[in-house]
């Protein structure tokens, strides 16, 4: 089951560029939360601060606190421990090209030394079913490379790979922006299915997508969180003029 995320006074920099400024928000457990905003507004940086991927860039810096459940992400644990709890799906599908479909899904568990064949088989099948990919690949699990699938299938494979380690939080950084409309619809269905079991944070450029999948939506602009509320409120009666301008397409 998922856990909630509590962010307070989060600031992030790339070199001297202050990408995130004083972000405070509470992301509830077992719901989908969408983050929208124009390019460069800091929404991707924000999700990368949750699983401490931001700091893998040597010029990056973070201050403030992020809690997932009762763990202080920057105090109580190493980045490796945190990332074992948090799954992440990236903008471009990045399956491992030298591994079979099966090995791709099993990679997270194997990485951590998990070797029980029977359980691995179960986990791989369950994760692929959850990612709505199992039916399409069940005959080629160990025969085909992760990279031999279509773009949309690759992204669902990446989702299965993230789900296989049973994460408490699933971060998705524009998971459908490189995909065609049919694949996009499949990913959205998937998020809809998964959100009762996982806390999902999805960054998107596509406002309709946010409206379709998320209970809550946050609007970022120039490194600040302008507004964070129920998706319904954001899209029908935004509290801030800038949010309204953005969702009605007046800028961005």
């Amino acid at each position: 089951m998922g856990v909630g995320i509590e962010v307070s006074n989060l600031n992030a920099w790339y070199s001297t560029n202050h990408t995130l400024q004083d972000i405070n928000l509470h992301i509830p457990a077992n719901q989908a939360t969408a983050l929208i905003g124009p390019s460069g507004c800091g929404k991707s940086t924000f999700v990368r601060c949750i699983n401490r991927m931001h700091e893998t860039n040597p010029i990056a810096k973070v201050t403030g606190t992020v809690r997932i459940g009762d763990i202080d992400v920057y105090k109580d644990a190493s980045p490796v421990e945190i990332r074992r709890r948090i799954g992440m799906v990236f903008q471009r599908p990045n399956p491992f090209p030298t591994m079979s479909i099966y090995d791709n899904v099993a990679s997270g568990l194997r990485l951590n030394g998990f070797r029980n064949r029977r359980v691995l088989d179960e986990v791989v099948e369950r994760s692929l079913i959850q990612a709505a990919l199992f039916e399409e690949v069940k005959n080629d699990l160990k025969k085909k490379s992760g990279a031999s699938l279509s773009g949309g299938q690759q992204q669902r494979l990446c989702i299965a790979r993230a789900l296989a380690v049973d994460p408490e939080v699933l971060l998705m950084d524009e998971p459908a922006s490189a995909l065609d409309p049919v694949s996009t619809a499949k990913i959205e269905d998937l998020i809809f299915q998964l959100k009762s079991q996982y806390t999902i944070v999805i960054v998107t450029h596509n406002m309709q997508q946010a409206a379709r999948v998320a209970e809550r939506t946050g609007f970022f602009l120039n490194g600040r969180l302008v507004e964070f509320d129920s998706t319904h409120k954001i899209f029908t009666n935004p509290g801030d003029k800038r949010t309204e301008d953005y969702i009605t397409g007046r800028f961005g």
Binding site: P58, R84, N94, P97, T98, L111, S145, G146, A147, Q208
Partner: protein, 341 residues
């Protein structure tokens, strides 16, 4: 979530069907004047083909010349030349085995020492090196490749061999003497010294090529592994080395090629005596060394033919080793699904 209804612009009827042509612009006239470019395109193709074919021609010429010039020993000893350990110019009795053994042993020793070190250097340079150090470090590695091998040889004689003789070998004899691979007498020079100097010489080739292929692995692969909760080493193993493995094997093959053919530095430290044995501290002789040492004093035709056939043997050994390496790549990647890029 439906947006406002789309307002479509009405498609205008085509006013003209292009029958009346306006005067062509300056650019259009220029481009038209260039014609079909078919000849230059075809010429380019043939020239490139010629470049490729020249490789075949060079290899074939060398092989033919080697076989032709070693006719005397080929007809006298046949295949046994490659399996005999006699080397007796006075009685015209020749066998290549000790030289093949010396070349292979010193080269594989070099790989054993150089490959882990080279991959370590490449990992440090691509994954962990602070920016300020990266430039100087890669420059220094490449500088190592530019040092002439005779200089390596001198360095080996005056620095490496004394170190081996006084510090390393006594330890090896004490700790690993029971294996039989390290037993006295301790000359300093010998197979191990040749292996170590070769390792130093091929290190820059292997590490700089490995660094290139590792740099080519997309950053998204690293992030994918990191996001699964990998440590830095796990990320490098699964996200970088695994993706780069074919290129890494390729760089090892190139390094091995250099080690097999290296002449000067090896000649200066291997000991130059045709011995076969498992003692790595013992003396040896390599194919390239024997040719370099003895060709000028090869007074009769049989002797000269034997040395040229050693050259042929080196040529064949290189081909066989390359073939085996390719087989290895094939065997490792066979289980894995075909790579789509």
């Amino acid at each position: 979530m439906s947006g406002p209804p789309l307002e479509l612009t009405p498609t205008p009827e085509p006013s003209s069907l292009g029958t009346e042509s306006p005067a062509p612009s300056e650019i259009r006239k220029f481009l038209t004047s260039r014609g079909s470019s078919a000849i230059s395109d075809r010429a380019f193709r043939w020239i490139m083909l010629l470049c490729a074919l020249s490789i075949f021609a060079i290899v074939a010429l060398i092989a033919v010349e080697l076989v032709k010039s070693s006719q005397l020993t080929i007809s006298k000893f046949g295949l046994s030349f490659f399996f005999k350990s006699a080397w007796d110019p006075v009685n015209a009795n020749f066998g290549a085995l000790p030289f093949i053994f010396g070349t292979l042993t010193s080269s594989f020793l070099a790989l054993l020492l150089a490959v882990p070190l080279a991959i370590g250097v490449a990992i440090f340079l691509t994954e962990m090196c602070p920016k300020i150090l990266r430039g100087p470090l890669s420059f220094l590695t490449e500088l190592l490749a530019a040092i002439p091998s005779v200089v390596y040889g001198f360095w080996a004689i005056f620095v490496l061999v004394p170190i081996l003789r006084e510090r390393v070998n006594p330890l090896l004899i004490k700790a690993l003497g029971w294996t039989g691979f390290f037993s006295g007498p301790n000359f300093g020079i010998g197979l191990l010294a040749a292996g170590v100097i070769l390792a130093i010489m091929i290190l820059p080739i292997i590490s700089s090529l490995t660094r290139e292929v590792m740099t080519a692995v997309p950053h998204t692969q690293r992030e994918a592994v990191l996001a699964l909760g990998a440590t830095r080493w796990e990320m490098i193993r699964m996200g970088v080395l695994r993706n780069a493995r074919i290129g890494i094997v390729g760089s090892v093959i190139l390094g091995l090629g250099r080690a097999l053919g290296e002449t000067m530095a090896v000649t200066m430290v291997i000991g130059n005596s045709p011995v076969i044995g498992k003692n790595l501290l013992g003396l040896g002789y390599s194919m390239a060394s024997v040719i370099a040492n003895e060709f000028s004093e090869a007074s009769d035709d049989m002797y000269r033919s034997a040395l040229i056939e050693i050259g042929l043997a080196l040529f064949l050994v290189t081909i066989v080793v390359n073939g085996l390496a390719r087989l290895l790549v094939w065997a490792v990647t066979r289980g894995a699904p075909p790579r789509v890029t």
